[in-house]
């Protein structure tokens, strides 16, 4: 079936099997490999992207469900070579160790700030409950989001 999805501001259109997951459309069809597949069971959040501006887990969505929608991936966050304030905050606050969870963490954190512009530390921890860091670097991830909220 044919799907048309605007990804990072660009119109894309491809013939896909109905069972194609959104994350595979992003990684394999479009070759945008910043979005990771971690647990593949909607637990870890490594595959988090924005669908019409809201964080979703792209391993638990069909590309067909995103037909006609706007998707933003980690590649769409920087503008003209300048990192998004959230990416900048992760860099400045050592919010990443191995980096595997980072694209999903950044996407989830930006969505969180869109819904709550001035979250407390507790609200950030609860808001990011759907994203796991196997390095257990949560402390600096939370500090990064707090710093980004102040920007």
């Amino acid at each position: 079936m044919k799907v048309s999805i605007t990804v990072n501001g660009k119109a894309t259109e491809h013939d896909v099997e109905p069972r194609t997951l959104l994350v595979h459309y992003i990684r394999e069809t479009l070759q945008l490999t910043g979005t990771n597949v971690g647990c593949d069971t909607s637990s870890c959040g490594a595959c988090t992207v924005h669908l019409n501006g809201e964080a979703v887990k792209s391993c638990t969505m069909l590309a067909a469900q995103a037909d006609g929608c706007a998707v933003t991936t980690i590649e769409g966050m920087s503008k003209d070579g300048v990192m998004h304030p959230m990416q900048q905050a992760f860099m400045e606050n050592h919010g990443l160790q191995c980096g595997f969870c980072t694209p999903g963490m950044v996407m989830a954190a930006v969505s969180l700030l869109n819904e709550n512009t001035n979250p407390t530390e507790d609200e950030i921890r609860i808001g990011l409950e759907g994203n796991l860091c196997r390095c257990t670097g949560y402390h600096n991830i939370v500090q990064s989001v707090l710093a980004a909220a102040k920007k």
Partner: protein, 273 residues
Amino acid sequence: MIPAQFDLKRASSAAEAISLIGEYGDEAKLLAGGHSLIPLMKLRLAQPSMLIDIGRITDLSYIKDAGNHISIGALTRHMDVEKSDIVKQHVPLLAHAASHVGDAQVRHRGTIGGSLAHADSASDLPATTLALGATYVVQGPNGQREIAAKDFYKGFLESALAPDEMLVEIRVPKTLGGWSFQKFNRRAQDWAIVGVAAWRNGKDSGVALVNMGSTPILATSVSAALASGASIAEAAELAAAEAEPQSDLNASSEYRTHLAKVLVRRALEESTK
């Protein structure tokens, strides 16, 4: 993991979806947010050959104040239930329970109707709407009928929905008095090992249990004891009277029974403040 092959058709109205499930019968499943169904399909625990995508039926996404109850369209997302001023004001227990479903990403996609129709006793909203005395409106080829939440859950992932019916609306009585939601789990986003949804207004109360059997459990003995003047501690001892808790990797049946008594006591104490 990629699901087995299937075809997909989009329905633009409830009537069209019902006609399509009538046409494809047992081979078809309705796809709303997909956050219960797609994981099952990825694990090949479900292999429908036809998915009927109802996720774009926007007129089934609404929250209305309907006098003595609120009406929620089946395709309303958890995040919209959680943030709704109408739900927060009139059925705060439901708004709170919705905020405990999965995580933010899941709540951006998952729908209340999908969660209830999936009929998983480990999910938060079946037990919550059961405690609240909700009524589900289902639509089939011959029109709509109402099913009380207490008559809806028939067995593990089994409901009173006929194969050619779909859930279209959830009606929840406005809550008077106090309420509480207790969810015991080891990791933030997990299903409850045991959960309790409760409200209390004088002698009246509603208490339901999450993950204490193959269906969500209405703890009628607890409410009966409270109505006849029992103390909270006495009533909480009856928490598992209707339950048949299973043993699994997370907890033994005995431990679940213990948890239910403790959590029901806490829930009643919080509801009585």
